[in-house]
Symmetry: C2
Subunit: 533 residues, 2 copies
């Protein structure tokens, strides 16, 4: 008997087994799994009543909130495909995405009304706009607020056997550094099996109370949405990142799980209000989105008094591929433990990773030999939406080519060395910009750093560091270069240091090196050539 693998089963299961358990906390709203489950079914039904056909895309432009969470199940219950939009995109970028995906429905929070108005004018195929919050509607939004929309639905739901596990469930657009954003197609099966992998790799149980600090549009908040629902844990919604609001919610809801990016983790550690809150419920902090440093992992463990591990993934893999807890029998010393937990970690059950040379040959697991990270897992996408060529390029020979460079050590732990395109090639040597950034970050005055290539007559390229200092602290270029020289091979030491106010970043804390290159490395465009193909 093959029961279709669909995330809809997760919510139905939680509704059946944990009906009175708290499913979601959002502002002052609190809903049980029975309520969440009913509302999701109602949403699916209302969407069908409003004209949703199987496979239609339903877009959400929303911060993290309980209605957005409902959509992760309701849209699928209705037979649609969820299209979560990155609200940090410009109106023009959003218009591109909406047109490319061909979305018929747009659900939005009133804070994005202006953007929606421009979308309404530019993207004619959007048939229905629904306002998620209870704010007064704009006059062109003549039909719906969300709660009214729900009343158009009933509680009839399809038998799970009628679902197609290979059908598209979620469509996420990647930021796209050089070309237009691409839609990552995740199937019901991808999402189901990915959530299970993460639950197995991270021992997620029904006791979990998790605060969503990562925007849900980012591959369903790194897959935590589904992992947590499957386990029957509690979702605590954070609308917008603010350390004090995180502390307040952790204390009030006794949050025990939290996912962060390095920049939000740093913000939490550096926020003086921390000491005014009881954060003792926290058990696990997971750092992802960008590489964590051992310093950061240690500080999180010391200051928050909980385990801190890291992970690695990408939207194309649903997204998590690796997590970094210890393996039994490793006998790590304390330094090794911190370094291991700050690495990307090892493959989840259900996932395989390799580092390969440009010919696709497996490289040694020696913690030294650098190659492109390729992956095969139950979460790897069906492909890019209507982009067969990009799909073929990403899924070569049945492996997802991540565009990340890494090493794997003898114990199977992956270290991400750099983005393939951020590697600096100096005198024929590959230099990891990340390695230099980590060296700089260890200096007490440095808040964060980014390293980019600049043209160099002798070596072709050379590294240049852009440094943000900690408030109130100082350091000179000479001092930082000396600091680097004491920690890095000579050829890796930056040629210059420039101090700047802040680093440009994506919504998930990734440094936008493309912009830095444009501004600070005149003459250096995007890389081309064999090393970076």
């Amino acid at each position: 008997m093959n029961v279709p693998l669909t995330p809809v089963r997760f919510l139905r299961y939680a509704q059946e087994q944990f009906p009175s358990k708290l499913a979601v906390v959002c502002g002052e709203e609190r809903r049980t799994y029975a309520q969440l489950g009913e509302r999701a079914v109602r949403l699916g039904s209302a969407l069908r009543s409003a004209g949703l056909e199987p496979g239609d895309r339903v877009a959400f432009l929303s911060s993290n909130c309980h209605r957005f969470l409902e959509a992760y199940y309701g849209v699928l219950e209705g037979g649609g495909v969820l299209l979560p939009l990155n609200f940090r995109l410009t109106a023009a970028e959003l218009a591109y995405v909406m047109r490319d995906a061909g979305a018929k429905f747009l659900f939005l929070e009133s804070q994005f009304l202006e953007t929606a108005e421009s979308l309404r004018k530019e993207v004619s195929m959007i048939e229905t706009f629904v306002l998620l919050d209870d704010q007064p509607r704009a006059n062109w939004l003549h039909k719906f607020n969300y709660e009214e929309f729900l009343t158009g639905g009933d509680l009839c739901r399809r038998d799970v056997m009628e679902f197609d596990e290979d059908a598209l469930a979620e469509l996420f657009y990647t930021s796209g550094t050089s070309a237009n954003p691409k839609g990552v197609m995740l199937t019901h099966r991808n999402i189901y099996l990915h959530a299970i992998s993460v639950a197995l790799g991270n021992q997620k149980t029904s006791d979990a109370i998790e605060i969503h600090t990562i925007p849900l549009f980012h591959a369903n908040g790194w897959g935590i949405v589904h992992t947590l629902t499957m386990a029957g844990g509690t979702h605590v919604m954070l609308h917008r990142f603010d350390p004090v609001e995180v502390f307040r919610l952790v204390e009030r809801e006794r949050v025990n799980n939290c996912n962060l990016v390095p920049t939000t983790a740093a913000a939490i550690l550096n926020c003086p209000e921390r000491k005014n809150f009881d954060l003792s419920s926290l058990k696990k902090v997971l750092i992802g989105g960008a590489a964590a440093s051992p310093t950061l992992v240690r500080e999180v463990e010391e200051k928050l008094g909980c385990q801190c591990i890291a992970g690695y993934g990408l939207t194309e893999a649903s997204p998590v591929l690796t997590l970094s807890p210890g393996k039994p029998g490793l006998q790590w010393g304390e330094e090794e433990r911190i370094a291991g937990q700050a690495s990307a970690g090892f493959a989840l059950p259900g996932a395989e990773i390799r580092v390969v040379d440009p010919d696709g040959k497996n490289l040694a697991h020696d913690g030294q030999t650098m190659g492109e990270v390729v992956a095969r897992s139950d979460g790897v996408m069906k492909g890019y939406w209507r982009q067969p060529e990009a799909t073929a390029a990403a899924l070569q020979a049945g492996w997802l080519h991540t565009g990340d460079m890494g090493t794997i050590d003898k114990d199977g732990y992956l270290l991400i060395v750099d983005r393939k395109k951020d590697i600096i090639i100096s005198g024929g040597e590959n230099i990891s910009s990340l390695e230099i950034e980590k060296a700089l970050a260890a200096h007490p005055s440095v808040y964060e750093a980014a390293v980019i290539p600049i043209p160099d007559e002798r070596w072709g390229e050379a590294p240049k560091a852009l440094v943000v200092l900690r408030p109130g602290l100082t350091a000179t270029e000479t001092e930082l270069l000396a600091f680097c020289r004491s920690r890095l091979a000579h050829y890796k030491v930056p040629k210059s240091v420039e101090f700047i106010e802040a680093l440009p970043k994506t919504g998930t804390g990734k440094i936008l090196k493309r912009e830095l290159r444009k501004k600070h490395a005149s003459g250096m465009g995007e890389h081309n050539g064999a090393h970076r193909a």
Copy 2:
């Protein structure tokens, strides 16, 4: 990307991620996952060299040992279907199974040589016999001992993408109470997803060290083989159940997980040598195979100092469907906790259970209304081998009909009330033989009891109790009937009690009521009629 779901991935994963971790302890043999993985691949290759074609059945007649464990992966690596034989069957029954399954290979331990010799004469299709242990061969076994057989294989293995997840992986014959045994067809996907369900429901991690007290031929030792391999835990093999040997291995290997049936649990609790061993490593005992009593669960927790839960399943479901840990937020008192943990428990993630009336209508979750248990899960079989009619009867309307009667309470906990065919119908009332047995078992002098129907002129049927007393203790019929009267509704109290030496049982501790009925209830055959259809 759809990576085929096959248990072969479990061992490959453990081999990749936990190569030097202890995989299996068997007598004085100890093998790591690297070794186990290599040997499994070698076995698959050797089978192909010896003529195995894709889909061929490979039979194993073996007690629990590391070579049998290898077969769970090696036969699949070779493209074959594993057919584990119940060594408690007679030679004639085994001949029936071998012919029905059409097995070409038979691997056997030397203790079963006599049986094998008779199979050789009666089942002509067996081409290759391999002796699993290192004993001298019989002269007709002119070719192989197992280790020699392995040398015919190499370490080349198929890409996992070449596997077909819907292909048959394991074929288990059920005991068959009235008809001939039926082969239960479990696919690669069934087994993969079932193992994950159990791991999620039972929080099985790589720290697990599990002793296999359940014969592996019993749906891969209740699915523990694959769950444990997936997690990278350690398999401790027990050849034949003996309490002192269990204690010795628990102490020596620091075993923390153990599955038992009620009779082996009772044997362990009643064995005086227990106090001579350090069993403090034990963390979880799971009781299955037959209903556990609260008394038993409490005693296990008290005397072994670990958590004791129960579970429910059947070969047709790979086999586990439910487990009985507490759910968060239940606020059980101590009595309720013990009763809850002694119930069958609630559905695993990936499984659904219902109790239904004869028309298939869902019954109330009130802990009272009794109906047939039906199930739908990722582990439910493809069907019975070459028995389309039996398959259609078992998988009606997409649900597995278990033939067990049960109730579900408001919290979703299933209680198995009886086998549908063991229900006693007295004056139009359904009486659970199990309920009476549990009442009797609470009497301090009763070791165990079985209740069967006897013909009754007035009521049609009436219950009769067959009781085994504890060594050295006594009780009279009058005393036990009075004891029952104080605990059961009047119409449920047995009409008579007969004291016997021992109850006839299957290899997994289930009481053979069919035999008891034949011997002790003249005039009562197998039931027929609407109530037991």
